[in-house]
Amino acid sequence: MSNISVFEIMGPIMIGPSSSHTAGAEKLGKAASSIWGRSFDAVEFYLHGSFAKTYKGHGTDKALVAGILGMSADDERLRDSMNIAESRGIKTDFIEVDLGDVHPNTVKIVIKDKDQLMLTLVGSSIGGGNIIITEVDGSELEISGQYPVIIATHKDTRGMVSKITGVIAEHQLNIATLEVSRESRGETATTVIEIDSAAPDSIINEILQIENVISVRVLNAIE
């Protein structure tokens, strides 16, 4: 089956001028702020490749900030996002970098609050307003943002995955995909679980309560 929806071709309905640079960037910004889920006072955007070269002209900066503020891609306030961020006391910085062998439209988003680093996310805008998130808090993964995702880092010990999926099952959530990766044996591992429907906020603490779990992030699907 052609597993690409027609609405990945037709649409999104969005504010111009570029689906890769505006709609996709807005989604990446929204993914970062939605994973963090709380307030913050500063964001740094490290722009790579085509993002670095053309972000001003394409309004990528405005779109990233609009996403961080939780606006949707067809919100006509998008062109004023910088001013809106400023009025909410959120400082924004744009830095051109080389992130290595990654997609040309890649950004690393760093969310900070009171000078503390709160979240890092690396993602790419892969065309037509679609995105792929390749790193969260340093853990490599590959998520599209189309399904809700739970990302747990934990010690690489026996039974971790079944304990985590146990909590998910208690919430009657259906698991779509599950992937475990580890840095090296016996050290830190990351379990990435895509689920079919949105997870309640409480699930974060429930999974954190499991022994040897280090951190838990949840990203609910982004439209």
Binding site: S2, I4, P17, T54, H103
Partner: protein, 296 residues
């Protein structure tokens, strides 16, 4: 179930239906939504497209940078008052394509098709073709489904991103999608639709992505205009019975390989092509100097 155009054609034969029917059934299976729900969503997209294709004709629309704007109005005035070269239908389509790209560059609301940079081509083709043969909204929805089916195949087997494949992947894909949509609207066969799509891509193979100052304005807006004309010419050829010697699937593969071999400078980075011509450079410098957006 399809990954290639020949599979789509086979399915239309087995079921004795059109490309849009196959695409709709596939979408319904994929998303577990009813055909009606999907058609409603397409209707929403169509309405946004109609607005964007018209508002730049009704009112002069300037891009945020001020670099482009007002060309949709000019074309429409010209068509109404003077003897045109290409005739009224083609000029209506050109005006609509220019309108959508001007609305896009002004940070207005559009529907990407398959991307925002190329968003003027398919709407101009579908709206103009439907207007010419008096087709209704439902026929336009079908045409958009057919166009999207062609886009799905290009995305699956190649790319629809200018940063990855150059402008052939954006305006080329848009023209191919538009060509197939027109053929179906005019009652052509699925084979004819894919022939038209193949010829459209063949005509712009190798087209680089070289936006001046990184803006989706120059040359993008005019490539939307010529993109719809390309689509219309290819649709006419296919409807006349002209076939593409190289089949659609192979044309798409060739397009992808060409895209991969394009240097990064010609894939949306604005480090080559028109972007680095003396005039392109001057525009970029003027834009970088002022921190304010509107400079032209």
């Amino acid at each position: 179930m399809y990954h290639k155009a020949h599979e789509v054609i086979k399915e239309t034969k087995e079921k004795n239906c059109r490309i849009s029917d196959v695409v709709l059934q596939n979408e319904s299976k994929l998303t577990e939504r009813s055909a009606e729900e999907i058609r409603e969503k397409v209707r929403e997209v169509l309405r946004v497209m109609q607005d964007a294709a018209q508002s730049g004709i009704d009112k002069e629309t300037k891009s945020v940078s001020g670099l482009i704007g007002g060309n949709a109005v000019k074309t429409d005035q010209f068509r109404k008052t003077k003897q045109t070269v290409c005739g009224d239908v083609v000029n209506r389509a050109i005006a609509r394509a220019l309108s959508s790209s001007e609305v896009n560059a002004s940070m207005g609301r559009i529907a990407a098709m398959p991307t925002a940079g190329a968003a003027g081509i398919v709407p101009a083709a579908v709206i103009t073709a439907a207007e010419t043969i008096n087709a209704d909204e439902n026929a336009m929805i079908d045409a958009l489904l057919t166009a999207s089916g062609v886009g799905q195949l290009i995305k699956k087997n190649a790319t629809i991103s200018g940063a990855e494949g150059g402008c052939q992947a954006e305006c080329g894909a848009g023209a191919a999608m538009a060509a197939a949509a027109i053929v179906e609207l005019y009652g052509g066969t699925p084979e004819m639709a894919f022939d038209a799509a193949a010829i459209a891509i063949k005509s712009i193979l190798g087209l680089v992505c070289d936006p001046v100052a990184g803006l989706v304005e120059v040359p993008c807006s005019k490539r939307n205009a010529t993109g719809v004309v390309n689509a219309m010419a290819c649709a006419d050829m296919a409807l006349a019975g002209i076939t593409s010697v190289i089949p659609f699937d192979e044309v798409v593969d060739a397009m992808y390989k060409i895209g991969k071999s394009l240097p990064a400078a010609l894939r949306e980075t604005s480090l080559g092509g028109l972007a680095t011509t003396p005039t392109g450079e001057t525009i970029r410098c003027r834009l970088m100097k002022g921190d304010k957006d509107t400079l032209f």
